[in-house]
Symmetry: C2
Subunit: 415 residues, 2 copies
């Protein structure tokens, strides 16, 4: 894409009420716009990153056997009364329709997916199976001060698995730990993300969170020195040793919860009487697991982990573009013609090879400003074409974050 | 995909309160599920169709130069007060947040996109440009009786263009007519879809709708015998001749509005004071156009146009799968082994070639039921493998809707 065509621009300042670094950087670089506290628009650059994250998650969910669906946001009150959460979930938005019937705005989707499953599950032969969606959630956060880490409205991948017994659920749950690990590795935060023991509520001893270590985190985890698995604060107060390996030495870290997995067991199948007929003819409750990842939160976490004083440094797998061509125009008309021609040629050549490339072809923007914008936007590879590089028939190729790149022969760079 | 793995099943009956044929067929065939009036879940088969439609629309919007973004659903009341629609739009959902601040649930997005554009448009050099999104809308329909044609919650593509003068807007608007035509042709309803003159409100003489002729339609259009352009009911009462060619003979048809385009001009730029500095230094209002397509409505319209007494008949470009393999198992163990082996081989061979294929490998389902389900689901090509076809080393290949297919040598069919 030509940068001159992009309708957004970088900004010198983020809104004054925006205290979170992820949102400050994303707003200044033109990835998101803030509509109100906890409510953001994804702008073209942010949308590209969002789609890359979405595709990685979708691929891994499909590999895990999930069938993709799309559930709505307007949920009948009755469904939420059945699980008791109409009254107990504080952050549920409630809205009346034209007949004064009350609806919940979907904060999560057990109240929809369980009655849906009940329409199709009758026998042990219908189990196991899994469904998931990538869909908008609404939660009435009291203080939405963490940028896109904690929105009032945010897109989440929620995956639900259905099983005939605890053993089958437990096996699948173990498998999903690996699936989640693969996702966080693919988006570039694998090394800093810890499988973390959390409370399982009244149905299971533990659930698990995936926590990414960063100073911007609102959570605190204790990473076991022996096995590198963590426990969260709630567990830590009850438990002195590591539930995984028995280790007793922990390192305290600030962290962001980027995903969670939960053995729901019959927590939601019971109120909806979701049962199946087993081989022996008896009716048994369906066992469920649920597995969530907030896409905006994941995007914001990547920004919190990968940035420096000049801007964002995107990991390659989720970068909006792979390369950022910066054309530094010359006042000498002849020389300038060559800069334009060579930059255009490289742009088209990379595109024709299927490389996502961003091309700063803006006139009337200084050398210094282009470099500053490129640092702020944070595309992994920067390619500089100027009078100076062309004197050596070269372009300067530098990784984002590097002070100095290296000259590469222009014919070599884009054959 | 193996049909035995799909968690949904076909149903003999649609819910009793579902009177629209599109929803009856889509529910019975397992494409959608009804959560409440006007609120549906896309099930795995429906999600596949939805994504094919979405991709076609996205491709055409990108070709038209649209920059994709994603705006939120929780809109501050102030924005809707500015345009006057907080009080005048009857079907607007209103919801309070934790601080008792009121929000509109996005029914359309002029109230968000205009203040967004205002942050980036300063000069004539910033124009023209276009943005679009594919996003959920909420409208409090009084009677949601048309299945997925008219939802209380529905996904829409909304595209907004920004221009420096009426001429530039008018040129772009003309271009978008062609873009819309291309979309309706690609999804398979081009021949039945008419460009239709509609009222332009107080700002323009006309706007345009795209109306698809079908007896299920709630609208009425008058198609000019001379130029095949239509006028809607509202215009017809004021105007006796065709505004396009002056023709005076019309054919009345029932129809569904599948898209609309509108020259907004300064209707929304004015209240938000969206202006730009022109070359001569003066401040001028930005001219806008908007261009909408409801994805669910388009999907439902395709079903209304393409069905028979046995079920849906998907056009190839939007079908959930290209081919549907039906394995008819035999009671003879040896013969059955061969059926399974050959059907598996064809399934894998087609998949390896990148053909989307659905494979009815269900045991304990009769020949008759498999055929009935295939007719209901409506995949364009049905491939039957049975004892009988294998006696002739063949499969029977038939188009959906055909009574009798033709035998094709099995080695030929999936080389």
């Amino acid at each position: 894409m030509r940068q001159s065509q992009l309708f957004t621009k970088t900004r010198k300042e983020a809104p004054k009420d925006e205290v979170a670094k992820n949102a400050q950087l994303l707003i200044r670089a033109g990835f998101v716009d803030k509509l109100q506290a906890g409510v953001y628009t994804y702008l073209p650059l942010g949308f590209l990153v969002f789609k890359k994250i979405e595709n990685i998650i979708r691929e891994e969910m499909n590999k895990a056997g999930g069938q993709e669906i799309l559930m709505p946001s307007l949920h009948p009150k009755e469904n939420w009364e059945k699980t008791g959460r109409w009254d107990t979930m504080d952050d549920l938005y409630k809205v009346k329709d034209s007949s004064e019937r009350e609806n919940a705005l979907g904060a999560t989707h057990e109240e929809v997916v369980v009655p849906l499953a009940k329409k199709f599950i009758h026998s042990y032969k219908d189990l196991p199976f899994s469904v998931y969606q990538i869909q908008n959630k609404f939660r009435m956060e009291l203080r939405a001060k963490s940028g896109i880490l904690r929105g009032r409205e945010f897109i989440m991948k929620d995956f639900y698995s259905f099983h005939k017994d605890e053993k089958d659920l437990a096996d699948f749950y173990e498998k999903m730990k690996g699936v989640y690990k693969a996702i966080f590795e693919r988006v570039g935060i694998g090394e800093k993300t810890y499988l973390t023991f959390a409370s399982g509520g009244s149905f299971s001893k533990y659930s698990h969170e995936f926590q990414t270590a960063t100073d911007a985190g609102e959570d605190i985890i204790y990473v076991c020195n022996k096995c590198s698995i963590a426990i969260n604060k709630e567990i830590k107060s009850e438990q002195k040793s590591c539930p995984e390996c028995g280790g007793e030495n922990f390192e305290e870290k600030k962290s962001i919860e980027v995903g969670n997995i939960f053995e729901l067991k019959t927590r939601y199948s019971d109120p909806f009487e979701l049962t199946y007929k087993d081989e022996d003819g008896s009716d048994k409750p369906v066992m469920m697991g649920c597995y969530g990842i907030g896409l905006g939160r994941l995007l914001g976490t990547i920004v919190e982990v990968y940035n420096d004083e000049n801007g964002i440094i995107w990991p390659e797998a989720v970068a909006p573009f792979k390369a950022h061509i910066l054309a530094f125009y010359s006042k000498d008309e002849e020389k300038n013609k060559r800069i334009v021609a060579e930059a255009d040629r490289i742009y088209e050549s990379l595109q024709s090879k299927g490389v996502d490339v961003f091309y700063d072809d803006r006139k009337d923007i200084s050398f210094g400003e282009k470099l500053k914008d490129a640092d702020l936007i944070g595309i992994p590879e920067v390619v500089i074409i100027s009078e100076k590089t062309l004197e050596k028939d070269s372009v300067e190729v530098k990784k984002r974050g590097e002070r100095q790149g290296k000259l590469v022969n222009i014919k070599e760079y884009a054959k």
